[in-house]
């Protein structure tokens, strides 16, 4: 009984229970299988958007649940997503440079 209570309190303090993590992993595995299926099945015009959406969903799930950002301080989210935002900015800046300045 004590162990069960401790496990519950532990899950509340640190995010999720072990069963919760396994459920997240199963969802991630299923999304990966769906991603790989795009290599074999023709998704037509949905090919690129579906792959990008699945990539973002997997990224957010790992960061939110496995890295506990969903349950931790917002300062951690700010630090991480600021870095990510800057990285995206670098990509678009490089893309614009190639588009406009390099023939």
């Amino acid at each position: 009984m004590t162990t069960a209570t401790e496990t519950h309190e532990d899950a509340q303090e640190h995010g999720m229970s072990d069963a919760g993590y396994i459920k997240i992993a199963i969802i991630l595995a299923l999304i990966t299988a769906l991603e790989v299926s795009t290599y074999y099945v023709d998704f037509g015009p949905l090919f690129m958007p579906s792959l990008l959406i699945m990539m973002v969903v997997k990224f957010v799930m790992v960061v939110s649940y496995f890295m506990h950002l969903k349950f931790d301080s917002k300062i951690f989210s700010f630090l991480f997503y600021t870095g990510l935002g800057l990285a995206l900015f670098v990509y678009f800046a490089a893309l614009a440079t190639f588009k406009f300045f390099i023939a």
Partner: protein, 204 residues
């Protein structure tokens, strides 16, 4: 008053040193490091995306990529994130034996991924894609090579962590140390999630 002070000190010892924000300095530093790592990989991924079509006389990505093989590698790395989070969970429950078990499995899965990458690089080289063959080759090896080095460093960190847990040499909060290495490991996994889609699944 003295009781409160003692309680605060105990709490700080339990959960690492805290900053004026009330957050652990170690965790804050790790998140700051991961934020800066986003920039490193952002630069490498951007370079690959811009150069992947420039194959010169070398092989084209679609001629050399082995998607089924890379899919299995990706799955292995994804599952290592699960075993890592289970190690962190066990560490919070102060269950050292289970923590070490999950850390061992995570290290093995990481080593399997690195082994797969070495095999992939060897195969690509034999098929004519060297580091200087084309801009595609340079940017591909730089990106995936840097990622492979990160995974290798992660495996070394996991093995070192297992050693210091067994020798009981962690003086502060053991669970936090496992969690910090876990954060690094999950970051390596999320970078691969992006690489797998942008590099392997979306054709140039």
């Amino acid at each position: 008053m003295a009781d409160i002070a003692t309680h605060d000190t105990d709490h700080a010892t339990d959960h690492g040193h805290h900053s004026s924000t009330g957050l652990s300095n170690n965790k804050l530093a790790m998140w700051l490091f991961l934020g800066s790592e986003c920039l490193l990989f952002g630069g490498l991924i951007s370079t690959y995306m811009l150069y992947r079509g420039r194959v010169q006389n070398g092989p084209h990505p679609s001629q050399i990529y082995d998607i089924p093989f890379t899919s299995v590698s990706s799955f292995v790395l994804l599952m290592s994130s699960l075993t890592m989070v289970l190690a962190v969970s066990s560490a919070h429950r102060k269950d050292d034996s289970k923590t070490n078990l999950w850390l061992t499995i995570t290290a093995l899965l990481g080593a399997t991924f690195v082994g797969g990458q070495v095999y992939e690089f060897t195969t690509f080289y034999r098929e004519g894609l060297g580091f200087t063959t084309s801009l595609f080759g340079s940017s591909f090896y730089s990106l995936t090579g840097f990622h492979g080095v990160h995974v290798s460093v992660g495996v070394i960190m996991l093995l070192s962590l297992m050693g210091i847990i067994k020798k009981n040499k962690i003086t502060g909060d053991k669970a936090e140390v496992v969690e910090l290495i876990g954060l690094y490991w999950h970051f390596v996994d999320v970078v691969w999630i992006i690489i797998f889609t942008l590099v392997y699944l979306i054709p140039s």
